[in-house]
């Protein structure tokens, strides 16, 4: 966010804020312990607004539920912005001092009247107006989101629309305010921090900045490495399609099941000249590989760090001996480098981390000793006397503002790529359940009393209209493929909306249905919005 890719607040702030908007996030089930902080906030008097197509278990805790049509988030956010501007509740002083692009932004949102927004989002105009006014008037308010915002073809624009609301009202850079993407895995944040994104080196440093490039090259003994940005996941699949990318090294990911439009993904992976998979399991992706490198489990069988959604770097430690033949990721990578003619030595996890601290200013103060002592540290932490940073962007409240101003971006509503038509009239969205995780490789190994067989959830009204019974097996088809799946009625869904998870690919290959339309900036696929039809079998 404005140059630092991480949530701006601490979890604790959710306990002491006045309003939380949970936007495209079912945190009660997907981030249960963050939701504990939120519940403490609610007990302390905070109000909760849930923006979600489904009336989820998070929505049950909300004072207001905005049951938005899938993929209309920008229309909602822009209409809220327009309400705030027209009510004179924009923070003009903050906007003038700390932001850029206001004129263009204000002109853009002017078209998003409440009438337009009601039509595009399905949310009653009065509810949109009330939530907008409440957000603007709250002394402290936070917006938190998850994949409901980012698994869209216009993910980046969705995020920008939320950032706009915070900048418009000065609800960032202060305690109890902020913008927080809740990360889906224990080191999504850390992967980005460490440079596992195409254009960045560790600490979000720009690969294409000559001075940065030179600093790393010098530290690595004059090593040569590309000056240009690499591919993100979606671009890799495109490059495979064009025959440009012929060999792939996959570490700890199961794209044969997790990619949207699975049939295409498996086809492309199978067509590679050389596929190496490093994982703790022989996943469906590993089964396609030419070489499989068995790895130790990062969280229980090796040493290192991960970073959470409040930017807290925490230690993971070895509690178990890995199975015979499974090795630590660091050891595998160093051995591989040696075979390729580059000797990294045999560093411990701490030595690797210390190298990172030398090169990444935001991590410099985080020695293993301090991480142990303080129970993790929130970046940035530039030196060993620094306590870490509970919330970001306090600089925006300095006068004059510290560092670059934060831009407001004019972004337009752009509905999901997979259009609803007479042939495919039902909107399928996907998500997680409390007791399961992603493609189920890990969670399907424990016996959860909460688990039931995968099913296509639809509203009882749709069931009646289609003449299908609860439990009846149907054929669900999208423009890409079809699967047979039992129906389950779910009263949290509105008519026209269906829901499935990705947890049980061996029962139902949900990703046969999903669309791989992706956001060009972030590379995220539109898992949240497919158009399907349901036929009796």
């Amino acid at each position: 966010m404005f140059g630092a890719g991480g949530g701006t607040s601490s979890y604790r702030e959710a306990e002491e804020t006045n309003l939380v908007i949970l936007w495209g996030s079912n945190a009660r089930e997907t981030h249960p312990i963050f939701f504990h902080h939120l519940l403490r906030g609610i007990r302390n008097g905070a109000r909760l607004v849930a923006v979600d197509p489904r009336r989820t278990s998070s929505g049950e805790w909300a004072d207001v539920w905005l049951g938005i049509d899938v993929g209309s988030d920008i229309a909602l956010a822009n209409a809220m912005a327009r309400v705030i501007i027209h009510a004179g509740l924009a923070n003009d002083e903050f906007i003038a001092r700390a932001t850029t692009g206001y004129e263009e932004f204000a002109a853009c949102v002017e078209a998003y009247t409440l009438e337009v927004a009601e039509r595009e989002t399905g949310v009653p105009a009065a509810a949109i107006r009330d939530v907008a006014l409440e957000y603007a008037r709250a002394e402290r308010a936070m917006i938190c989101w998850t994949l409901g915002i980012t698994e869209h073809h216009n993910a980046t624009d969705n995020v920008l629309a939320l950032i706009n609301l915070a900048l418009l009202t000065g609800k960032v850079g202060r305690y109890g305010c902020g913008l927080n993407p809740l990360r889906g895995q224990n080191n999504v944040q850390g992967g980005g921090d460490m440079g596992a994104i195409p254009a960045r080196l560790p600490g979000f440093q720009d690969l294409q900045d000559p001075a940065i490039h030179e600093k790393f090259s010098r530290a690595w003994g004059g090593a040569e490495f590309p000056h240009t940005k690499g591919y993100h996941l979606t671009e890799m699949f495109e490059a495979m399609e064009h025959g440009e990318l012929k060999a792939l090294y996959i570490v700890g990911e199961n794209p044969a099941r997790s990619e949207a439009d699975q049939t295409r993904a498996v086809g492309l992976l199978s067509g590679l000249e050389h596929l190496v998979v490093q994982d703790i399991f022989l996943t469906q992706t590993a089964e396609l590989a030419h070489v499989v490198l068995p790895a130790a489990a990062g969280w229980a069988e090796s040493e290192g760090t991960v970073t959470n959604s409040e930017r807290r770097v925490q230690r993971v430690r070895r509690a178990l001996e890995p199975p015979a033949g499974a090795r630590d990721d660091v050891d595998i990578i160093c051995d591989l480098a040696r075979r390729l003619g580059c000797d990294f030595g045999n560093p411990t996890a701490e030595q690797v981390w210390d190298e990172c601290r030398r090169l990444s200013p935001m991590h410099t103060g985080m020695s293993y000793g301090r991480l142990d002592e303080l129970g993790g540290i929130q970046w940035p932490c530039p030196d060993e006397s620094h306590p870490g940073t509970p919330f970001l962007h306090a600089r925006l409240w300095e006068d004059p503002v510290g560092g670059p101003r934060a831009p407001l971006f004019a972004v337009e509503h752009d509905p999901p790529v997979d259009r609803l038509t007479e042939e495919f009239p039902i909107r399928l969205t996907t998500g997680r359940r409390l007791d399961s995780f992603n493609t189920g490789v890990q969670t399907n190994e424990y016996t959860s009393p909460l688990r039931s067989k995968e099913a296509l959830l639809i509203s009882p009204a749709d069931g009646e209209r289609l003449g299908v019974a609860d439990g009846e097996s149907v054929r669900a088809s999208s423009r890409r493929g079809s699967v047979q799946v039992p129906i389950r009625f779910d009263s949290t869904l509105r008519p026209g909306l269906a829901f499935m998870t990705l947890h049980f690919p061996d029962q139902v290959a949900t990703n046969v249905l999903t669309i791989d339309a992706t956001d060009p900036k972030s590379g995220t696929a539109e898992f949240k919005a497919s158009a399907i039809r349901i036929d009796k079998v």
């Binding site: 224990n186 489990a297 230690r315």
Partner: protein
Amino acid sequence: MWWRVMAEAVFVGLPKRFVKVSIDGQELDVLEGLTILDACRQLDIDTPTLCQLETLTPVNVCRVCVVEVEGSRVLVPACSRKVEAGMKIRTDSERVRHSRRLVLELLASSVDMSLCSAQVGGWMSRYGATPQRFGDSVATVAQPVKIDNDLYVRDYSRCILCYKCVEACGVDAQNTFAIGVAGRGFDSHISTEFTVPLPESACVYCGNCIGVCPTGALMFKSEHDMRQAGTWDESRQTVTETVCPYCGVGCMLELHVQDNSIVKVTSPLNNSVTAGHLCVKGRFGFQFVQRRKQE
């Protein structure tokens, strides 16, 4: 208390004063709003507690922490009574010792307290508690262990009704409200709604009730099975802190490992992310890492 100190550090609330109190003749300054128990701990006076936990709201049910406060007709629970200026507190008078002894005796005569921490045994001997003095024919809560799912068991013959599980399942953490206290008097017991088995109840298997249970009434099924088989051996266990692999919240886990297998998962009470609480995945979703070893 760490969480209050954190709050002071970031959140500018109303300023707080120190108040002067005396405990067992010693004068001390205590931050306004703290409890008598906090004050006792400031002086390193070991005060027995059963239903009290730093992360839970006091429910005042066990009465084992009672102290004498000058001017008060009855003994007061140290865990919940806030300090007041000029309070004169006695923690070791005959009246206090007698009351604590009787509480421990009544509990230990009717409940199996053999899995309580060594600290509880220490209090029993300090106060000379002899539960046997009531004879062999006393009423007990002995009953078969409830095993109705693969994740955790409920052995209510070990339950002292401290309410901690109810609090953790309810407003103090999980807010799921799957269990409550049913019945009256000696028949009071922890129950799901209409006493349904857990899989039919509102339970979401976070196991936060296990995390706060002081008597072993609530227990991982893995621990229960090992105890039944006689293989549970804490002297051979290691406890390693790491971070949960699921989702991006970053909950700190304590992995209890015996013979290279995870046998139990807890989280530290003083962790700023979890306050000791986890979800079903973090608490029970570890099997995948060990199933690899068997293959």
